[in-house]
């Protein structure tokens, strides 16, 4: 081929410059603006779509008294049946909410667990059942936090996963979480129909809130036994799995360990070998 330098006017590609080929358009000064515009639009939309319901750092002290009052009205209209008119709880159908904190409200309401649609063994995460707007959830969280201080919605610095150590998070995860949620974060069974849900597809803020509030059967991991940095590490570890950081070696059959392998080998695996054995057995000499 030609040994002419690419930036020489005699280079074969340079000759096409005046023709508006895609390559030429890409070099136009306007292209940068278009890319910037698209990028901003995309980021903005994605942020709006993925933004947690309650802004990080929310507690009763960050919510205005008017919002707390609005939160009280929401509470009386939607939650008081089970949790009591003052959030003191109704035995045995609903626990007291005094001291559960803004984090607990945000976790339960913005994952669709509360208000509970029907009495059941445990509340399921259900994005399609979120009943309140972001503003309303903030108001509710502010009101409940005002009943008695509890864990706040975590600050942004523990959710951005900057400076997080995935490997250290994995070690903490295996020590504190894997016995219920499975080493790959896909969940596991508990007693009497309860279960530890999958952690895949759960927002960082909600994972953090679950750790500080201990919803349902889950124990509380407060900042003394699991400092915020370790929580962030754990979240980073889970996000790494979610992004396929451990998917090597082919299809994972549900990440259920030897149970999935057994199901595969006894069905598709040996089934195909037997089918071929029948074929060979029938094949005439």
């Amino acid at each position: 081929m030609s040994d002419v330098a690419p930036d020489s006017p005699h280079h074969p590609i340079r000759k096409d410059r005046r023709v508006s080929s895609p390559a030429a358009l890409r070099r136009s000064p306007l292209a940068l603006l278009v890319v910037l515009f698209l990028g901003l639009c995309f980021t903005g939309t994605a942020y709006a779509a993925l933004q947690p319901a309650v802004p990080p750092g929310t507690s009763s002290s960050t919510v205005s008294p008017e919002d707390i009052e609005a939160g009280k009205q929401l509470f009386l209209g939607n939650c008081a049946t089970c949790h009591g008119t003052n959030g003191q709880g109704v035995d045995p159908i609903g626990p007291s909410l005094v001291g559960v904190g803004a984090a607990s409200v945000d976790f339960q309401v913005s994952t669709g667990r509360m208000p509970l649609p029907a009495p059941q063994v445990q509340a399921d995460r259900n994005a399609s059942q979120v009943q309140f707007s972001e503003e309303q959830i903030t108001q509710l969280a502010g009101y409940i936090d005002s009943l008695g201080p509890g864990p706040d919605v975590p600050a942004e610095e523990w959710l951005d996963l900057e400076n997080a150590d995935i490997a250290a998070g994995g070690a903490s995860y295996r020590t504190n979480c894997a016995m219920c949620h499975n080493s790959s974060g896909t969940g596991g069974a508990l007693t009497r129909g309860k279960y530890a849900p999958t952690l895949m597809g759960v927002e960082a803020q909600h994972i953090y809130e679950a750790m500080v509030t201990g919803p349902q059967s889950m124990p509380v991991f407060n900042d003394q036994n699991l400092p915020p940095q370790e929580k962030e590490n754990i979240i980073a570890f889970l996000k790494n799995i979610e992004e396929g950081g451990n998917s090597y070696g082919g299809a994972g059959i549900g990440s259920y360990g030897p149970a999935g392998d057994a199901l595969f080998v006894w069905t598709i695996g040996i089934g195909s070998l037997i089918a071929l054995a029948v074929w060979i057995g029938r094949k005439a000499a």
């Binding site: 894997a178 129909g193 451990n246 090597y248 082919g250």
Partner: protein, 609 residues
């Protein structure tokens, strides 16, 4: 000693009509030399000089001329054999990189989620095989999938041998060798998946540690002996390694060779079929047909295993993390062949543990592990001898039984499988609970009840099914198969045209023995004066078991019955001109439906079957 006599099977003159058999090699000469193909086959010239120095030609002529019958179920054992070969090849590859040491290292490989994490050299080298060694992950997955296929192949092969009665004389020793092989396969598999020292395998070793500790009195000493001190210590991985790569494979391969020799020395069994008797083998000689088929099947097994290993993840040790005794992961199960023991532990109630003379007796663990594990293989091993003792059958058997023709054995086998399955499923009760949305407690109760109730139900259902199928076979032999053509005679009677079986179809349906209970053949337990004849306790037990096995048995159609049935049909056909006319019209020979002659003959002849 009394022996069970057998219902005479004098159908040979009827079967003699079709001894031509299929267009395959059929040699009918006395046993033990009757399975040789063409004696005059020519071997390549290069054999000569080699034979002069080794004398191997005779053995080769014997081996290569062997006739093997064709049936897909005979290939189940080959699946196991070829999987074992794949394991040996891939295992050798893995030993080149695996470091069987519990020495502590800090991981510094390319897998980011474990970078800087402390772990054993065994686990670090397994990660290196998976992420650094070229083709290492594929080899690991091939090794593990082939190991699973190995055990599945053994299980299905054993089931085939059991349900077709292939374990009967002269193959009892080979059955015992096979049982030992299956035990070794399970131990080898356990040792293998324990080696990477990941969180899952470490949990498995911890379970084994608990099993051993449950041994009454000596438990603690036993575990300290095996682990070289307190769990986990630093000895168990190197010890399991030498067991996994040297000790067990050596015994496994040695016994496997013995297993093969004992297959080749007597002739191969074959399914009942036209021309097939206890004195011949109908099939193809090893050279060239069977060698090509079996050799081709090796590539089929290797190909499927490689395809599965390339596409489906198995034992992702990097997901589990390094073993740490303070950690455990939900969904910890062993590989499936150890499930039944783990499942038994999950079902056994905790109150079985008690303290006596200052020692803890953990029967809740002991019963499901140290007792159950040997017991399962012991029962498997002694079954052929038990059945031979009950039957009193000392003859050689080379024609297999169809499972329906041994109803009690088939029912016992299925009941045992159902029992095994209940235990195995109990081991994945957590995964079943979460996948089916059930309570793990309810499942445990269900499995506890099923363990005792299900085998009984399965036993009766399977036995009834077998007896029904046998009756159906009799019906078919005596009256032919239904054609679905209903003929109306001029006088308005209806009958369905039955097509009699030809001799080829009839053969497998009548070629079986029906042993009778000992009580029927040696006379009742008391003489004519009502005085009980003295019987040893063992003889009484044997008599009872024999009655349990054979009191309901349905015998094969005898030639006399068959002749009677045919004559009966012809007689009627001649008797009733209108029927004969109908037959002529429809151009098919007729053996009438039983219901029809019931109506016609009424009291005159009654039912003839």
């Amino acid at each position: 000693m009394s022996t069970t006599s057998h219902v005479p099977q004098g159908a040979h003159h009827l079967r003699g009509d079709d001894s031509g058999g299929e267009a395959t090699t059929t040699v009918t000469v006395p046993p033990y030399s009757s399975d040789q193909g063409d004696k005059d086959a020519k071997f390549p010239k290069v054999i000569g000089p080699v034979d002069e120095r080794t004398g191997l030609a005779a053995a080769m002529r014997f081996g290569l001329g062997k006739v093997f019958p064709d049936h897909w179920s005979f290939l189940l054992g080959e699946i196991a054999m070829y999987s074992m070969v794949i394991c040996l090849i891939t295992g050798t590859f893995l030993t080149l990189w695996f470091v069987p040491s519990m020495g502590h290292v800090t991981y510094d490989g390319s897998y980011v989620p474990l970078k800087g994490v402390g772990m054993s050299e065994a686990y670090a080298s397994t990660l290196d095989i998976s992420f650094e060694v070229k083709g290492g992950l594929l080899m690991r997955q091939l090794h593990h999938w082939a190991a699973l296929f190995f055990v599945v192949g053994i299980a299905l092969h054993a089931a085939r041998v059991f349900f077709t009665g292939a374990f009967r004389k002269p193959r009892e020793i080979n059955w015992v060798i096979g049982v030992v092989l299956s035990l070794l396969a399970a131990i080898e598999g356990f040792a293998g998946y324990s080696l990477p020292d990941d969180l899952l395998s470490g949990t498995g070793i911890r379970a084994m540690n608990g099993f051993m500790m449950s041994a009454p009195i000596i438990g603690t000493w036993l575990t300290f002996f095996v682990f070289g001190g307190e769990f986990p210590g630093e000895m168990i991985i190197p010890r399991l390694y030498i067991a996994h790569v040297l000790l067990i494979p050596a015994i496994l391969v040695g016994l496997f060779v013995a297993h093969l020799i004992l297959i080749v020395l007597p002739k191969h069994t074959h399914y009942p079929g036209p021309g097939r008797t206890d004195d011949n083998v109908v099939g193809f000689p090893v050279m060239p047909v069977y060698a090509a088929k079996a050799g081709g099947f090796f590539f089929v097994v290797f190909g499927i295993t490689a395809l599965v290993s390339a596409l489906v993840q198995i034992n992702p040790v990097w997901v589990f993390g390094p073993y740490d005794p303070t950690q455990v992961t939900a969904g910890s199960q062993p590989d499936f062949y150890m499930w039944f023991s783990d499942g038994a532990l999950r079902l056994l109630p905790g109150w079985l543990e008690f303290s006596l003379f200052g020692t803890v007796w953990s029967m809740n663990i002991f019963l499901g592990s140290l007792l159950l594990l040997p017991l399962v293989w012991l029962i498997l091993g002694i079954y052929p001898f038990l059945e031979a003792w009950i039957t009193g059958d000392r003859r050689d058997h080379h024609v297999l039984q169809r499972p329906r023709n041994a109803p009690v054995r088939t029912a016992i086998g299925m009941a045992a499988i159902s029992m095994y399955l209940v235990l195995a499923l109990a081991c994945i009760n957590d995964i079943l609970a979460i996948k089916l949305g059930l309570s793990i407690n309810d499942l445990t109760v269900l499995f506890r009840i099923s363990f005792f109730v299900l085998p009984v139900i399965v036993y009766f259902v399977v036995k009834r099914l077998c007896l029904s199928l046998q009756r159906h076979d009799r019906e078919k032999v005596l009256h032919g198969s239904e054609t679905g053509r209903v003929v109306r005679t001029p006088e308005g009677r209806f009958f369905e045209v039955h097509e009699p079986l030809d001799a080829y179809e009839r053969w497998p349906l009548v070629y079986y023995d029906t042993p009778r209970p000992i009580g029927e053949t040696v006379g009742p337990a008391s003489d004519q004066h009502g005085v009980r004849r003295p019987l040893a306790a063992a003889a009484g037990l044997r008599r009872a078991l024999s009655s349990f096995y054979y009191k309901d048995s349905i015998s094969a159609v005898t030639p006399a019955e068959l002749a009677a049935a045919h004559q009966h049909g012809e007689h009627e056909a001649l008797d009733g001109p209108e029927v004969a006319a109908a037959i002529e019209q429809h151009g098919a020979p007729v053996s009438e439906a039983p219901g029809d002659d019931y109506y016609r003959d009424g009291i005159k002849a009654g039912r003839h079957s």
